[in-house]
């Protein structure tokens, strides 16, 4: 994968950062879709009353809607960063085998799934 990377200390040419970035990109659509489908936001924001609940929380009567998007982002960034960091510890002979096409391919089925989840909006 990264056979020709220069060994310098700058972030832009760091092998560890390259592996982190590749795995972060691959993990993001997977974790985000899982968070959305599984109902795993790190927190729930209630904009009507400006309150934050840890994890998933239903909207309460007379308090307006609940927003999960921020919580999904938090869950995704933390999990993807953790996976990326773990991958950056892998020996190069393994990290070099991570297929780069997954980076741009995985967001496409992720978007298809997310669009499907929004079916109530399309069929209302």
């Amino acid at each position: 994968m990264m056979a020709r990377r220069a060994k310098t200390s700058s972030l832009g040419t760091s092998e560890a950062f390259g592996t982190f970035a590749v795995v972060f990109a691959i993990a993001t659509p997977i974790v985000y879709v899982a968070s959305e489908l599984g109902g795993w936001p790190l927190f729930t924001y209630h904009p009507g009353v400006n309150r934050i609940d840890f994890g998933w929380a239903a909207a309460r009567a007379n308090e307006g809607p609940a927003m999960y998007w921020y919580g999904w982002i938090a869950s995704t960034l933390i999990a993807a960063a953790l996976l990326g960091w773990l991958a950056s510890l892998l020996p190069r002979r393994i990290s070099d085998k991570i297929p780069l096409f997954l980076i741009w391919l995985l967001p496409l089925p992720a978007l298809a799934i997310l669009a499907y989840v929004l079916m109530p909006f399309w069929t209302h």
Partner: protein, 167 residues
Amino acid sequence: MDILLDTISVNTFWTILLIVHALLAVATLGALTHQAMSVAMPVRRAAGPRGFITRFRAVQGAGYATAVCVLWVVTMILGAWIYTKYRIAIRIPLERTGYWKTLGFFELKEHVAVLGLGLLPVYWYFWQNAKNPDFDSARKAVTILLAAMCWFNFLVGHVLNNARGFG
């Protein structure tokens, strides 16, 4: 914040935020479109007369990467802030008036923004190593995908603002 809202109305405040968000989106869109054109249809020769399209795609893509990452993140932070107001002041009235598909596309826009965010570190890394042929295909694909995402988000945001903006 209180001092600011003593000076301008709440609607004006959110409208200003929305305009700044839109202007940042325009900058992101321009940079990514230039860059995507430069990788999708690179200019092979400098000789001969150059038209607008040739000059448009003749940019040095590497110079845009950091700016695109910063713009994407700042635009998204502003959008996330506006989203809190949108959820109450825009979405609920649009639900009442039956703009379901518009709302659905807006929800999809938010998902696209997150998936784009996940691509930024590797996108930046690929462009920092623009001379590495191992990354050529992936860099091209990621850049074009980000440009497509940006166009989608820009158009959906524009249409939603037409359906119901602040103010």
